[in-house]
């Protein structure tokens, strides 16, 4: 059984990240956008893990743990904000949440 080359992981990571960006920009629902952000984070995590394995170093793994911790905290705060927004505006459509402007 041969080892999967690192480029496979990186390509997968790039595809996931790209999908995340596309969803982040084009989706209307805030929850979906939020999920897109999480997707991008995890795409990066995948790249980190792949590099760590390829270079046989733990630095990448340490970073991944940090990212997971931060993402957990961020999702807690983010979800709280989303709930508050929904309570106030009865909608999750990002195009209707447009008061923050000049």
């Amino acid at each position: 059984m041969s080892i999967v080359p690192i480029s496979y992981y990186l390509v997968l990571s790039a595809i996931l990240f790209g999908l995340g960006i596309v969803a982040f920009v084009f989706k209307r629902n805030i929850v979906t956008i939020f999920m897109a952000i999480e997707l991008m984070l995890n795409a990066v995590n995948l790249a980190f893990v792949a590099f760590a394995r390829a270079h046989n170093q733990v630095d990448g793994l340490v970073f991944v743990f940090f990212v997971i911790v931060v993402a957990a905290a961020e999702s807690a705060v983010g979800l709280a904000i989303i709930i508050t927004v929904y309570q106030n505006r009865q909608t999750l459509n990002i195009e209707r949440i447009n008061l923050l402007k000049f």
Binding site: F24, E95, N98, K101
Partner: protein
């Protein structure tokens, strides 16, 4: 040696007085303002008396007595100390300044009694005395310049004292700006002085002049340039041709100010400065001639304008310009002591004339026009008699102060240049004429004012007592020089002799001795008493009497028969109009059309407004980014991230 070690006290006293009255005076009663204002000057006068007492005990080699208190400026070679000095010339000036200003302060308590801003007036007067004393005590030319500019400032403040009156404001500005033209020359002169001698201390400069043989350490050309530049400063400050135009207008100020600043002290600062710089001037014959020529021309020219003025103060103003011309004439022909002597006697009699004129104006209820007066002799006798004495003094009637000083100047001019003497002599006749014209028009004849409207009254004691003091000095002030008429010593000249002899060029010292031995005493007395100056003064007196007492219609007829010259003189030779046309109008045009509309509005305002407009317009465009649409923000984030990535990859590639 207390006061000589602490000379700063003399100048500090009026400064403290000015500060107290100026900062706190608004809530003071008049009594407190008076005691602060007069008290500080009285103490300064007492200090002067103490200076004289201690100075008399100084050994000759310690004169001039210089006291350095601290270093004021150091920049490379340029070093200016706050240092004061006392020598015989300083003593004379100190005496004149402290004494006349004391009397003027006392007089002002009466004259200004009903004016708004009483405390302000006394504060300014004290400030003036502070700067004037700084000017005369300074031991270097830069400190002297501080005093020089300071008195100019006070002159401006006091001429424009009634600042609600448009004419007073313009007169103040005119006085300030015109003298500033002269001060530019003075400033350049100071710089050239430092450049040449590497010092600004009087003593250090003068020592370099005598050290070298034969007086050629400094080229005459440079000395002449320095002297002429310094003299330009003196011309502005002392109202000589062609910068005299501010002094007549300065009569807009209160009369005590005219007496103190524009007759007795500030305007003589130029004379003092030239006398102080005598070692330089003595080595620059061309500059000396210019000084004498300007002096003689001014003496004559201003006297002719004085002939036809009808405002009592304007006559005195032109008379002051004329008398200052005599002082410069004296200095210019090398008779420094005579020039300073005339400065002193002039301070007495002209100060008195102005104060008395103020008393007349006070009595007339503010009217200054002589054609409205007449017959005041018996109604205000003290004013009349004191002013009469002062007129005798200024006209050069033998026995009075002005006779001795003016005679000395004219005598020195006669031996130097006959044409200058002639100008001075005619000027003396004109002086006698216009002064007696003033007296006759004001005090003699029939009253020409409405006696029901104007209640003529003698001034209060605080105004008449200074008049009497000055009248006494106008009489006896010249007697120190009297013994020379019978072959004795001119004590005034003897007193000042060290100042002018210490650094005198070798040639001049010999010539002086020769001149002294020229005439036998008896002939001198006869010469002086029956000489030309006295004769022409009496002629002026008689002519004035004929014109204004004997046949009062003569002046009118004369004016009618000679309309062109009369108008020319009445309009003051159109000098103001000429300056207006040649200088002020072009300056206004350039200021309006170039400096205002192009430079200010175009360049300066354009820059400032342009910067603001760029910021505003770019801001109004850029704020569209902040649309409120979160998805567009997301797009910007992505674009930014891509941009950063591309940039980093690119840089990384370049480093590789």
């Amino acid at each position: 040696m207390f006061i000589l070690d602490h000379l700063w006290i003399i100048i500090a006293l009026p400064l403290i007085g000015a500060a107290i009255n100026g900062l706190l005076g608004k809530n003071f009663s008049k009594t407190i303002v008076n005691s602060v204002g007069i008290g500080s000057i009285a103490l300064a006068f007492l200090s002067f008396v103490e200076v004289v007492r201690e100075f008399a005990q100084l050994p000759a080699e310690q004169i001039p007595w210089v006291k350095t208190y601290f270093t004021w400026i150091t920049a490379g070679q340029f070093k200016v100390d706050f240092s004061l000095q006392v020598d015989q010339l300083t003593i004379i000036m100190l005496g004149v300044v402290t004494f006349v200003s004391l009397l003027v302060h006392i007089y002002s308590t009466g004259y200004m009694a009903h004016e708004e801003g009483y405390y302000r007036f006394f504060s300014y007067l004290n400030l003036f005395v502070f700067f004037m004393l700084t000017l005369v005590l300074a031991a270097n030319v830069v400190l002297m310049f501080v005093g020089w500019e300071g008195v100019g400032l006070c002159s401006y403040l006091l001429v424009g004292f009634w600042f609600l009156k448009q004419s007073a404001i313009s007169a103040g500005k005119k006085a300030f700006i015109t003298t500033r033209i002269g001060d530019l020359g003075f400033t350049i002169g100071i710089l050239l002085l430092f450049w040449t001698f590497k010092s600004v201390d009087f003593g250090t400069i003068f020592k370099q002049l005598v050290g070298a043989q034969p007086d050629a350490a400094v080229p005459t050309g440079i000395l002449t340039t320095i002297c002429l530049l310094l003299f330009i400063g003196a011309v502005g400050k002392s109202a000589q041709l062609p910068l005299y135009v501010w002094l007549p207008d300065a009569m807009e100020g209160p009369t005590p100010v005219s007496a103190l600043i524009h007759a007795a002290t500030m305007v003589t600062a130029g004379v003092y400065m030239v006398a102080r710089m005598n070692p330089l001037f003595s080595r620059a014959p061309l500059a000396m001639f210019v000084v004498a020529l300007v002096g003689a021309l001014t003496a004559f020219f201003a006297a002719t304008i004085g002939l036809v003025q009808t405002d009592i103060k304007k006559v005195l103003a032109y008379s002051t310009i004329s008398q200052l011309g005599y002082m410069f004439l004296g200095l210019g022909v090398g008779a420094y002591a005579a020039g300073v002597f005339h400065l002193m006697t002039h301070a007495f009699f002209k100060g008195l004339l102005f104060l008395a004129a103020g008393s007349v104006i006070h009595a007339m209820g503010g009217d200054q026009e002589m054609p409205h007066m007449g017959g005041l002799r018996n109604k205000i006798p003290i004013t009349f008699w004191t002013m009469f004495i002062a007129t005798f003094a200024i006209a050069g009637i033998p026995g009075f102060a002005g006779f001795f000083s003016k005679d000395e100047i004219l005598e020195a001019a006669r031996t130097s240049n006959i044409w200058l003497w002639l100008l001075g002599l005619i000027g003396a006749g004109l002086t006698a004429f216009y002064m007696f014209r003033l007296i006759f028009l004001t005090f003699f004849g029939k009253p020409r004012y409405d006696e029901h409207e104007v209640h003529v009254h003698e001034s209060p004691h605080n105004m008449t007592v200074p008049l009497i003091f000055l009248a006494i000095l106008s009489t006896v002030g010249g007697w120190v020089a009297a013994p020379q008429l019978v072959g004795g010593t001119d004590y005034f000249e003897k007193f000042l002799h060290p100042v002018f002899a210490m650094y005198a060029p070798a040639a001049a010292a010999g010539a002086e001795g020769a001149a002294e031995a020229a005439e036998a005493p008896g002939i001198m007395l006869l010469h002086a008493l029956a000489g030309w100056p006295v004769l022409i003064a009496l002629a002026g007196l008689l002519l004035a009497w004929w014109f204004y007492i004997k046949s009062p219609q003569t002046p009118k007829k004369l004016a009618d028969s000679l309309p062109a010259p009369y108008t020319l003189i009445l309009r003051k030779y159109y000098v103001d109009e000429l300056y207006n046309f040649a200088i002020i109008q072009p300056l206004l045009w350039i200021s309006t059309n170039v400096l205002w509309h192009v430079v200010d509005e175009g360049v300066i305002d354009g820059t400032v407004n342009g910067v603001a407009r760029v910021a505003r317009e770019s801001g109004s465009e850029l704020r569209e980014i902040q649309s409120g649409n979160a998805r567009s923000y997301a797009t910007w984030v992505v674009i930014g991230a891509v941009g950063v990535t591309v940039l980093m990859l690119g840089l990384w590639g370049m480093v590789r």
